[in-house]
Amino acid sequence: MTNVSIKDLTLEFGSLRVLDQLNMEIAEGEFLVLLGASGCGKSTLLNCIAGLLDVTEGQIHIGGKNVTWEEPNDRGIGMVFQSYALYPQMTVEGNLSFGLKNARMPKDEIKRRVDRAAEILQIEPLMKRKPGALSGGQRQRVAIGRALVRDVDVFLFDEPLSNLDAKLRADLRVEIKRLHQRLNNTMIYVTHDQVEAMTLADRIAIMKGGVVQQLATPDEIYNRPTNRYVAGFIGSPEMNFFEGSLEGADAATFVTGGVQLPVGNYEFSTEKAANAAVSMGIRPESVVTGELSSKEPFTATVEVEIVEPMGADTLVWTKLAGVDFRFRMDGTASVAAGDKIAIGFDPSKGSMFDAKSELRL
């Protein structure tokens, strides 16, 4: 069942069009992540859903009800902000109960809900403290608690972990996932961090310039990016791209810089067209080295230029077909600049895009 549905949403700040005719259906209980570079309109979209911005055109439905003109507190949403936005002069308890008091809820019901949220988030010992006396991670827990006590169907998160250090971020990420499994309500989560997106999301919406580029499961986005922007945006280190063209009778070979890559087994999603200009993308993870490389459809020997050890694995920079080519090796492999390495990969498992339209072939 659909829980949040966005219909032809357009938002303009003066003459600047930030969201353009955006449509999106979010199912009940789904964890949707809005992912995109900074300034692409993610927060704006979230604020529109929350009712904190008046939309220029279009509608927003939550739980089957058209809430386009409703106030934020009447929409059945809770929101968590990047800067935590805790009320500094209130205690943790005051922060949690502020919204409920505004709704004139009976005292015992407020207490019940606040206690439950405190228990779920394990912030009971902090209830009498003010936000100034909390660490970043504790503050963000309280901020999540403030959304939790509202007992709403939809949670909105605007980069909730961006202000935390790496370790805390990883911890809280897992907690948010746990929270979602426990509560099972709809969550819309904005981030520019692809690891958060990949690990948390049921589906990811990749945005660029106020337009959704691809809305799909993390697996689909990673393995079958719908255009070149998505392919380059997802995955770290970035995908390797080659510019070339499809040759041969049934367009079974991709030719770039004098190198021929066999793509006979590639699953085309459009009509094949020989001689068309194409970009081919190969993920650094899909390259095999050493003995096993000889079994791959394409093999080559390359010279190592730069080695970046990262612990679990090592990133190796080389050149292939005249352009930079990066791939991962096991962290235990011993390589040094200047070494010659045998590599192999299956070009059919890569992604091909029309060079002009940048859409997936």
Partner: protein, 298 residues
Amino acid sequence: MPADNMTVPSGPKPKKTLSAHNIILYGVVGLVCFYYLLPLWVMVMTSLKGMPEIRVGNIFAPPLEITFEPWHKAWFTACTGLNCDGLSRGFWNSVQILVPSAIISIFIASVNGYALSNWKFKGSEIFFAILLFGAFIPYQVMIYPIVIILREIGLMGKLGGLVLVHTIFGMPILTLLFRNYFSGLPEELFKAARVDGAGFWGIYFRIMLPMSLPIFVVAMIIQITGIWNDFLFGVIYTKPDTWPMTVQLNNIVNAVQGVKEYNVNMAATLLTGLVPLVIYFVSGKLFVRGIAAGAVKG
């Protein structure tokens, strides 16, 4: 070993107390203090002397015989115009002008500033620009129109009229002050409060006000000193019965008939200046904090 400290740099760097730098610094500070305190010293000393001693003596010398008679006279019996009940009348007039003007102007300006920074409406920028423009119009241009307005609404010569004038003239600068302060508060806080169902007044009283003590102190100091020290509006828009303290002081000090009673004049001046002085002493620390407050972190 202390000897080590002198030779091998380790731990805190030893501070020289009598360096040339310090001597110059404290010397200049002392000199400036002396320069500013001298007139105050003269005033206090003169106000504690009797007239014979003043005629004889050196203005810097402390009184040989301390008398509080000039203070008593300045407060209770000095004549200003037709009334001979001293500065006490003007003091109470000034209080009656100051308290409502300060409270009303600060309240309205803070709500204005809050609305302008958080609840942007169509034309709010233009509204603000017009308000700011008001700050640059010279007072003199408006004096006569205001006389007519006050006469029309029957407030000419009344305390209420002066309260109205002070409230209006405080508006541009105070609104600017509050708007800038509220704009500096994190916007997400305001959004969170809206999601929590707080309305215009709920957010103002429960979220914004408690975070804004420093700026309210600044506004209060600006208004209290400004209104208390005002002479121009007081002399134009009130009559002898409702003269504020400053106008009365002027009439005492500039009295042409009789002998010049320097000691009474000094006492009257000190009494008039007492209110702003006390305000500065009481709130000095908060004032500095408010002025420095731009980045308030939650």
